[in-house]
């Protein structure tokens, strides 16, 4: 008695897709739920990775930047850097370039003399050397960097320009700085590694000495080091800068700031991934719900298939495949939408588009897993339905 049944794999897929095609709108809507959740997950990963790529890029470029700054003495008094500090630091062999800024104290910057002197906007005035731009690798957003050191000219940090409300500059753009009008000759691009430059108004040492008696003193030194010897240089920097009182200076590695920002982004990614996963869970419950309804509606079909020779297994596979196909279709659409969202977001933020390879793969895998899980119970119910009962459906 020849009686073995078998359902070809291709036929199983065809049966399931036909089942989905028979209920197009319902299938499309429930797949859309999965698509949105997967798109959110892929976009979170993609956007985070794109902005992280930007930060990591900066980290790579800024990793060998060190700073030496005025610290406090043990008694709590501000300690200026010794006048010899920049020159001494330059003599450390792995140091490639050095630049210094001097804090001009008691001087405010305002849009004009009519603005009350209390409204400083938190802007500091720094005397800067021409090498600042190169050492910090900060481009000028507009203008030039103090082309005439003897003239009262000023270059504004990115935040400073915004605080003062200065966007475009021309020969008439001036700010009121310490009792004199200075011509704004340039605006710096943002410097994530040196936020103190962002909020500063930079003037030349010559002018600072002449108008504000700075006497060439430095409050902070920036230096570029051989990337392989950053730690070695950092270790000797305090002694070199202030041999008499090494504890009065603070040695910093600004790229640590970038690391902190990357870590902070990671924390947000975790949060958003959690929210995206909840969305996916909700979509999965929706799929399970739709599949349970489908099984109830299709009792007669289940009975018929059993009468035609379908095993319990064949019926279970049919519904499980329907569920998995539904969520996989949603997953494919979701990955596409997520990548598109990432590209748009990265474009708007000016970041490179960096979608981690794991994002689309994980998105599809998650969709498939949700489909399989959501389809389990309905498939089991369909398979357990006694054929005679199923066929008695009115």
């Amino acid at each position: 008695m020849k009686a073995a049944t078998r359902l070809r794999a291709g036929d199983a897929v065809a049966v399931s897709t036909a089942g989905l095609r028979a209920r197009r709108l319902r299938a499309a809507l429930s797949a859309l739920g999965v698509a949105i959740a997967i798109a959110a997950l892929v976009a979170v990963l993609g956007v985070a990775e794109s902005s992280k790529a930007e930060l990591l890029d900066q980290l790579g470029r800024q990793g060998n930047l060190l700073t030496v700054a005025t610290g406090k003495t043990f008694g709590g008094d501000p300690a200026p850097l010794p006048a010899t500090a920049p020159a001494m630091i330059r003599r450390i062999p792995p140091v490639r370039s050095v630049t210094a800024v001097g804090n001009v104290e008691g001087v405010t910057v305002r849009r004009s003399a009519a603005v009350p002197s209390q409204q400083t906007g938190g802007i500091t005035v720094l005397a800067a050397q021409p090498s600042l731009v190169d050492v910090l690798a900060v481009p000028l957003a507009r203008g030039a960097f103090l082309p005439h050191p003897a003239f009262p000219e000023v270059v504004l940090g990115d935040a400073t320009a915004r605080i003062l409300g200065i966007g475009a500059i021309d020969a008439q753009t001036q700010v009121y700085l310490g009792g004199t009008y200075f011509t704004v000759v340039g605006i710096l691009a943002p410097t994530p590694v040196a936020p103190e430059i962002d909020t500063a108004a930079l003037i030349s040492y010559d002018v600072a000495d002449e108008l504000f008696q700075l006497q060439g003193r430095s409050s902070r030194v920036y230096l570029r080091v051989d990337p392989d010897q950053v730690a070695d240089v950092a270790a000797v920097l305090a002694f070199t800068a202030a041999p008499q009182d090494p504890r009065s200076v603070e040695v910093g590695r600004p790229s640590d700031l970038l690391l902190a920002r990357i870590a902070a982004k990671g924390a947000f990614v975790g949060l958003f991934l959690g929210l995206g996963s909840i969305a996916l869970l909700v979509a999965g419950v929706g799929i399970a719900n739709i599949m349970v309804i489908s099984v109830l509606e299709r009792r007669a079909e289940i009975g018929l298939r059993r009468a035609l020779g379908a095993r319990r297994r064949d019926v279970a596979v049919q519904f499980l495949l329907e569920s998995a196909l539904l969520t996989t279709a949603g997953g494919v659409l979701g990955v596409a939408l997520g990548c598109l969202a990432t590209a748009v977001a990265a474009h708007l933020a000016g970041n490179p588009v960096a979608i981690p390879v794991v994002a689309p793969i994980a998105g599809l895998a998650a969709a498939l897993a949700v489909g399989a899980l959501a389809g389990c119970y309905p498939a089991l119910r369909a398979a357990r339905l006694p054929p005679a009962d199923a066929l008695r459906t009115p």
Binding site: M1, L7, D11, A22, E301, G309, R312, R313, L391
Partner: protein, 226 residues
């Protein structure tokens, strides 16, 4: 003459909460190629009898032999195999799949034998020609009349050339003229295919070679057609 179907002292008692005794000590032998009508009022146990003959349900006690094989100890997949290879079903409600064409509906009759799709379609085309529907292959079931739909269902049952065709009120949803045509079609299968048909329509029953009356789960008497 060989035996196509054999029931021996079959009882069917549905479990609580209903606890209905649907069949009591039913014994029945259907010979190969025979056409049999099972008649009786509603609730007599006709559909239960057909389900048990079709291995869609297991009896509470008693034995069912199909084409010489005792089905009592067969597993669920084995029973599915018996249905796929030896039995064809026709139902009152047709149970056609709305989203498939007439041709594909009939081809579904071979789906669970693992026959390739092209072969399934070719055979479906042949059977549809036999039932007079060769012009309707690409139609959807919804575009057909009731009689045509039942012909599609009969073609689906016959596409695998089963030994036994089981029909549960196949004319129940049709007007009497169409019903007689369907009954005649089924009766004409006798000789090569064993046909067991359930009906409470005596005219339809009369088209079968033998009538078996069922009442309260018992067989009253069997009579060969005059």
């Amino acid at each position: 003459m060989t035996t196509a179907l054999e029931l021996h002292l079959v009882n069917k008692i549905y479990p609580p909460p209903t606890t209905v005794t649907a069949l009591r000590d039913v014994s029945l032998v259907v010979r190969t190629g025979e056409t049999v009508a099972i008649t009786g009022p509603s609730g007599a146990g006709k559909t239960t009898l057909l389900s048990i003959l079709g291995t869609l349900e297991r009896p509470t006690s008693g034995a069912v032999r199909i084409a010489g094989t005792d089905t009592t100890d067969l597993s669920d997949p084995d029973l599915a195999g018996v249905r796929a290879w030896h039995l064809g079903f026709v139902f009152q409600q047709f149970f056609l799949l709305d989203h498939l064409s007439v041709l594909d509906n009939v081809a579904t009759g071979l789906l669970y034998r693992g026959v390739p799709a092209a072969t399934r379609r070719a055979r479906a085309g042949e059977v549809l020609e036999r039932v007079g529907l060769s012009g309707r292959l690409r139609h959807r079931p919804a575009q057909l009349s009731g009689g045509e739909r039942q012909r599609v269902a009969i073609a689906r049952a016959l596409v695998g050339q089963p030994a036994v065709l089981l029909a549960d009120e196949p004319t129940g949803n049709l007007d009497s003229a169409t019903g007689q045509e369907i009954a005649a079609l089924l009766a004409g299968l006798g000789g090569s295919t064993t046909v067991v048909l359930i009906t409470h329509n005596m005219e339809v029953a009369a088209t079968m070679a033998r009538q078996v009356q069922l009442r309260d789960g018992r067989i009253l008497d069997t009579a060969d057609a005059p």
